[in-house]
C-alpha cells in the first residue's frame, strides 16, 4: 500500500500553490512577450512546468537518505559540469552560463548545483555530533560552498554564486554556532568586503553603486532600476491590466519575462495583485517550513530548510531588486521567471520537500 500512501501523503497544497504561481508566471510571460521574438516563450514555459512535474515526482521517489549518501558523487560531477561551462559554455551577453544541449535547450548547471549543495551540506551536517559546530567543520563547510561559488562567479554570475550562501548560512544556523565563530566570520566578512570589491567586474560595481544612488546614471546602470520602479509605481492599486502596461509592452522594462517579471506583473496587476502573489509565495514558503518541522530526522530538516532559505533568498533579492531595495543581480524569480533550468531545479527541490514529507513516518 506504499503507493497509495505516497500519493495521499503528497503535499498537495504545496503543489497547488506552486502550480498557481507558475500559472501566473506563464500569463505574465505571455503578456510581456507578445509581439516580440520571445512570443513563444509562454508555451515553452508550459512545457517546462510539465517537465517540472515529472521532476517533482522523481525528486520525491528515491529516498532522500539514498540521495544524501550519493551527494558527493553529484557534487563532484556538477563541479565538473561547472568547469565544463567555463570552457564549453555558450556565451550570451558577456557571460558563459549555459551548456547547449540537443533541441535548442541550454542547461544552466549552476541552477542544479543548488540542489546538490543542499544534499551535500545536509549529509555533512547530519553526521555531526554536539550542539555547536567546530571551527574545522566551519572551514570544511565554507570550502565546499566556496568551490562552486567561485566557479559560478567566474562565469560571471554573481547572483547565482551568492545564492549558495544562504544554504550554507541556514545549515550553520541550524547546526548551531559558537558566538566566537560568528564574530570571527563577521570580521572576516568585513575584511573581505574591500577585497571582494576589487574582484568584481566593472558592471557589477556599477550595479552596486547604482543601487545606492539610481539617479546617478539614469540612462546607464541605473536605467533598469529606475524603469522597474516606474513600472511598479505606474501599476498603482489595481494595475493596468494584462498586456496593458506601457513599461512592459513598450520594452522600457528590461527582460520583463525573466529577471524583471515581477516588475511587469506589478505594473499590470497593481498592488492588489502583488499582495496576492506575495501571499502565494509566503504560503509556499510556510508550507515548505512546515515539512521541515515534520521531518523524521536531522538530514530531512537540513534538506527542507536549505530549500526554504534558498527560496527566501531568491524572493528577497529578486523582488527587492524590482522595487529598488536590492541591487540588480540578475537572479530569476522562482517558478515565475521564464527559464527551463530554473523551473526544473525548483520542481526538483519541491520534490525533495515531498520526499522528506513522505518519509516522516519512520517504519
Amino acid at each position: 500500500m506504499a503507493r497509495y500512501r505516497s500519493l495521499r501523503d503528497f503535499d498537495w497544497p504545496l503543489v497547488v500553490i506552486a502550480l498557481a504561481i507558475c500559472a501566473m508566471g506563464i500569463l505574465q510571460i505571455y503578456s510581456a512577450t507578445i509581439g516580440t521574438v520571445w512570443a513563444e516563450a509562454w508555451w515553452r514555459q508550459c512545457l517546462f512546468v510539465g517537465g517540472g512535474m515529472v521532476l517533482l515526482w522523481l525528486g520525491a521517489s528515491l529516498d532522500y537518505h539514498t540521495l544524501i549518501n550519493q551527494a558527493p558523487v553529484y557534487y563532484w560531477a556538477s563541479m565538473g559540469g561547472l568547469v565544463a561551462v567555463l570552457f564549453l559554455g555558450k556565451e550570451v551577453s558577456g557571460g558563459r552560463r549555459w551548456i547547449p544541449l540537443a533541441g535548442g535547450f541550454h542547461l544552466q548547471v549552476s541552477e542544479f548545483v543548488k540542489v546538490v549543495l543542499i544534499l551535500l551540506l545536509a549529509r555533512y551536517l547530519a553526521d555531526l555530533k554536539g550542539d555547536r559546530l567546530q571551527a574545522r567543520d566551519l572551514l570544511k563547510l565554507g570550502a565546499l560552498t566556496a568551490l562552486p561559488a567561485v566557479l559560478v562567479m567566474k562565469q560571471p554570475d554573481l547572483g547565482t554564486a551568492l545564492s549558495y550562501l544562504p544554504i550554507l548560512a541556514m545549515g550553520i544556523f541550524l547546526a548551531g554556532l559558537r558566538w566566537q565563530h560568528a564574530a570571527a566570520m563577521a570580521l572576516v566578512g568585513l575584511l573581505a568586503l574591500p577585497l571582494g570589491w576589487h574582484f568584481l567586474k566593472d558592471y557589477q560595481k556599477a550595479r552596486l553603486v547604482t543601487f545606492l544612488d539610481p539617479s546617478r546614471d539614469p540612462r546607464g546602470a541605473g536605467y533598469q532600476v529606475i524603469q522597474s520602479q516606474i513600472a511598479v509605481g505606474a501599476g498603482g492599486m489595481w494595475g493596468k491590466g494584462v498586456t496593458q502596461g506601457s513599461q512592459t509592452q513598450l520594452r522600457f522594462l528590461p527582460v520583463p519575462h525573466t529577471d524583471f517579471i515581477f516588475s511587469a506583473f506589478a505594473e499590470e496587476h497593481g498592488f492588489v495583485g502583488v499582495v496576492v502573489m506575495l501571499g502565494l509565495y509566503f504560503l509556499l514558503l510556510m508550507q515548505v517550513v512546515q515539512n521541515a518541522q515534520m521531518a523524521p530526522d536531522r538530514a530531512g530538516v537540513y534538506v527542507v530548510m536549505g530549500i526554504a532559505a534558498l527560496l527566501l533568498f531568491h524572493l528577497l533579492v529578486n523582488i527587492g531588486m524590482v522595487v529598488g531595495r536590492m541591487p540588480v543581480t540578475g537572479i530569476p524569480l522562482p517558478l515565475m521567471s521564464y527559464g527551463g533550468s530554473s523551473i526544473f531545479s525548483w520542481f526538483l527541490m519541491l520534490g525533495l520537500v515531498n520526499n522528506v514529507r513522505l518519509r516522516r513516518f519512520v517504519n
Partner: protein, 633 residues
C-alpha cells in the same frame, strides 16, 4: 514504482552511518526563520506600498513621459498668388529636426553638432534661448535636412544613440527665383528673442516661424496656419508603436495679391542692374499692379534660418538691398512735383491760365540767383509750356506767388507728407515742408527763399515712389484717391478720399502732362503709339542738404531720375512711378514707365482678343465691339 520506493526505504533504513534522528533542537530555530521570512515579506510589501499606493501618480506620469511623445504637426503657410491666381510663393516639403531637451544628454551636443553640420556654439545658444520654455517642448534645431543628415538621425534612434532627436515633416517657403517681388512679399523667419519681448508678438512662442517683412509679415495671421500635434506611443527604441492622439494642423489660407506677374516681370526687367524702384497702381481702385525695388535680396536665404555670413553681407551692403525703396526711399521728387505746384497755384488763385513768365535761363529771388535747367532759357512760358518743358523759372514764379503754405496744403491733399496706408509694414512718410513744419522741426521762421526750391521739388521736400504714383494717380482721376493696397478683397472696400478741387484746374494740369510725352516735352521717351500716355519727368539732387552737396561725396553722387506716368490720359487705368537712382536725367526713367504701361495694354488686348475668340466659338461671329481702351486722339 511502489516496489521501487519500498526497496529504497528498506535500503535506507539500515544506513551505514547512524543519522541523527532527533530533529528537535532545530524547532526553535525554524520558528525564528519563520519570523525572518515574515519580516522579509513585510519589507517587500512595504516597498510596493511605497511605489504603488503612496505616490503612483508620480510614476504614472514618468511612465507616460517615457512612452508618449508629442510631436508637432507643422502647418503649411498659405500660398501667395498674383491677381490672376498664379502662384508667387509656394511651399515645398522638407524635414526639420527637433530635439527633445527632456532627453538631451549634455555630452551629446558636440556629437549632434558634428553629425548635422551645425555650429556647436550656435546650437548651445539656441538651446539656452529656450530655457524658459517647459522642457518637454521640443526645439527645432535644423531645417532642410539633407539625405545624409536624415540618415544620421535614423542611424542613432536607439537609446544608446541620440534618442533626443526626432524628424518632423515641415513645409519650407519657396520664393520665386531672381528675387521677383522680393520686397513686396518679404520673407519668413523664426521669431527672435527681441521680438518675443515686444507686445506685438505676444501670441508667438520661441521657435515659431513668422512673417518678418512685406506681405508675409503684414498678413501673417492670414497666411500662418495652426500647428497640430501628434501624440505617439514609442517603445524603448524610439519607434512609433501607435498614434494615441492627433490634432490636425490647420493650414494657412492662400492670399491673392493685386500684383500682376506680367507687369511685375516687365518692371523687374526694366530695373535690372539699376538702383531704384517702380510702383504701378490702378488709380481707379488703388490696387498695386507691380512694385519693384532694386537692389533686391533673395528671400530664399531667409526661408530656413539665414546663415549669419549671408545676413552680415546683406546689412553691410551700402546699397541696402533690404530697403523697400518703393515705400521707404524718401527723396526729393524734383520736377515731378511741379504738377502739384501748378495745381496749388491754380486752386489758390495765385495764377490763372493766362499767367506767363519769360525764362532767360534763370531768375533772382530774395537776393539769390536760381538757374533754369536749360541755360539759354525757354522764352515766354505759360502753364502748359511750363509743364511740357519743365521750365524751372516758370515754377519759381508760381511757387513764389502761391507761397509755401498753399503748396504744402495741396501737396498734403495729394497724399504727400504722410503714409498712404498701403498694407505693408514700415512705410515712410516723406516730408512736406511748410512754415508750421519748420517751426515745429527747427523752431525757426520760414524764409520765402526756401519756397523757390520747394517749387521745383527740391529743398526739404521728400517723397516715396509710392506716394508719387498715388498722388499723380489721384490727380489724374480729378481728385479721387484710393488707398493703395496689395491684397484683393480682404475686408470691406474703402471709399476713396475725394478732394474738392476744380476739375478744370485738374484737367489743365493733366493736359500739360499729356504734352510732356506727346508734344515733344521732356518725357517723349514714354510715348506709346495708339495709347495716350501722360507723364512728368524729374531729376533731383540726391541730397537736398547743402552741406552734403558741397562735400566731395556730394559731387560724386549723381542726380536721381524720376518719371511718373499714367494712361490713358482722360480715364487713367494705370499710373506708374519710377525712381532711377543715379539716373541723372528724368527722361532716362521714362522708358521704364513706358514698358510697364505697354505691358498693361498689351495684356489687355490679348485678354480681349481671347475673349472675342471665346465668344465667337460659343455664340458665332460678333460685330467687332468698339474697344473702350482705344486711345483717344
Amino acid at each position: 514504482m511502489s516496489q521501487y520506493l519500498n526497496e529504497a526505504d528498506e535500503y535506507a533504513a539500515p544506513a551505514k552511518r547512524p543519522l541523527r534522528d532527533d530533529p528537535k533542537p532545530a524547532g526553535g530555530r525554524i520558528a525564528l526563520f519563520q519570523y525572518l521570512a515574515l519580516g522579509v515579506f513585510l519589507f517587500l510589501i512595504s516597498g510596493f506600498w511605497q511605489l504603488q499606493v503612496r505616490n503612483p501618480e508620480f510614476y504614472s506620469e514618468r511612465a507616460e513621459r517615457n512612452s508618449i511623445k508629442a510631436l508637432p504637426v507643422l502647418a503649411p503657410r498659405g500660398k501667395i498668388l498674383d491677381r490672376d491666381g498664379r502662384v508667387i510663393v509656394d511651399n515645398h516639403s522638407s524635414f526639420s529636426l527637433i530635439l527633445s531637451r527632456e532627453h538631451l544628454k549634455p555630452e551629446h551636443v558636440p556629437i549632434i553638432a558634428a553629425g548635422l553640420n551645425l555650429d556647436r556654439g550656435e546650437l548651445e545658444r539656441r538651446l539656452y534661448r529656450f530655457r524658459s520654455r517647459p522642457r518637454y517642448e521640443p526645439v527645432i534645431i535644423k531645417e532642410e535636412l539633407t539625405r545624409a543628415e536624415i540618415a544620421f538621425v535614423e542611424a542613432h534612434r536607439d537609446p544608446e544613440g541620440l534618442p533626443e532627436l526626432e524628424l518632423v515633416h515641415a513645409h519650407r517657403r519657396l520664393y520665386p527665383q531672381n528675387s521677383l517681388a522680393a520686397h513686396v512679399i518679404g520673407y519668413v523667419g523664426e521669431v527672435s528673442e527681441a521680438e518675443l519681448n515686444s507686445p506685438e508678438f505676444i501670441r508667438y512662442e520661441p521657435g515659431d516661424v513668422i512673417g518678418k517683412a512685406g506681405i508675409e509679415r503684414q498678413y501673417d495671421d492670414h497666411l500662418r496656419g495652426v500647428d497640430g500635434q501628434r501624440q505617439v506611443l514609442v517603445d524603448n527604441l524610439g519607434r512609433e508603436r501607435r498614434v494615441i492622439g492627433f490634432k490636425e494642423a490647420t493650414p494657412g489660407r492662400n492670399l491673392q495679391l493685386t500684383i500682376d506677374l506680367d507687369l511685375q516681370v516687365v518692371a523687374e526687367l526694366a530695373m535690372e542692374g539699376r538702383k531704384g524702384a517702380v510702383v504701378a497702381l490702378d488709380p481707379r481702385n488703388g490696387e498695386v499692379l507691380a512694385m519693384v525695388s532694386r537692389p533686391a535680396f533673395d528671400p530664399n536665404q531667409f526661408a530656413g534660418r539665414i546663415r549669419s555670413e549671408d545676413w552680415k553681407l546683406l546689412v553691410s551692403n551700402p546699397d541696402n538691398p533690404l530697403l523697400n525703396r518703393a515705400i521707404q526711399a524718401q527723396l526729393a521728387p524734383g520736377s515731378t512735383f511741379k504738377p502739384f505746384v501748378a495745381l496749388a497755384g491754380l486752386e489758390s488763385g495765385a495764377i490763372d491760365e493766362n499767367f506767363r513768365v519769360r525764362c532767360p535761363g534763370g531768375a533772382s529771388f530774395y537776393g539769390r540767383y536760381f538757374k533754369c535747367w536749360v541755360k539759354q532759357g525757354h522764352g515766354v512760358v505759360d502753364l502748359h509750356k511750363g509743364l511740357v518743358q519743365s521750365c524751372d523759372v516758370f515754377f519759381y514764379n508760381v511757387g513764389n506767388r502761391t507761397g509755401i503754405d498753399d503748396i504744402a496744403r495741396y501737396a498734403e491733399m495729394a497724399g504727400f507728407g504722410r503714409k498712404t496706408g498701403i498694407d505693408l509694414p514700415h512705410e515712410a512718410e516723406g516730408v512736406v515742408p511748410s512754415s508750421q513744419w519748420k517751426m515745429r522741426q527747427f523752431r525757426q521762421k520760414w524764409y520765402a527763399g526756401e519756397t523757390i526750391s520747394v517749387a521745383i521739388g527740391q529743398g526739404a521736400l521728400t517723397v516715396t515712389p509710392l506716394q508719387l504714383a498715388y498722388a499723380v494717380g489721384g490727380l489724374a482721376m480729378g481728385g479721387v484717391w484710393y488707398r493703395p493696397h496689395l491684397v484683393k478683397d480682404l475686408g470691406r472696400r474703402e471709399p476713396p478720399r475725394i478732394a474738392k478741387i476744380n476739375p478744370e484746374n485738374a484737367s489743365k494740369v493733366v493736359y500739360g502732362l499729356y504734352g510732356v510725352v506727346n508734344e515733344g516735352g521732356t518725357g517723349v521717351r514714354a510715348r506709346l503709339p495708339g495709347i495716350s500716355v501722360c507723364g512728368k519727368t524729374g531729376s533731383s539732387q540726391l541730397a537736398s542738404n547743402q552741406a552734403l552737396k558741397s562735400s566731395k561725396l556730394g559731387q560724386l553722387l549723381k542726380d536721381n531720375a524720376w518719371f511718373v506716368g499714367f494712361a490713358p490720359c482722360e480715364s487713367p487705368e494705370i499710373v506708374v512711378a519710377a525712381l532711377y537712382e543715379g539716373g541723372e536725367h528724368g527722361y532716362l526713367a521714362a522708358p521704364i514707365v513706358r514698358d510697364v504701361i505697354k505691358a498693361y495694354f498689351d495684356k489687355k488686348s490679348r485678354v480681349a482678343a481671347a475673349l472675342v475668340a471665346e465668344n465667337t466659338r460659343r455664340f458665332g461671329p460678333q460685330p467687332a465691339p468698339g474697344a473702350p481702351w482705344a486711345a483717344a486722339p
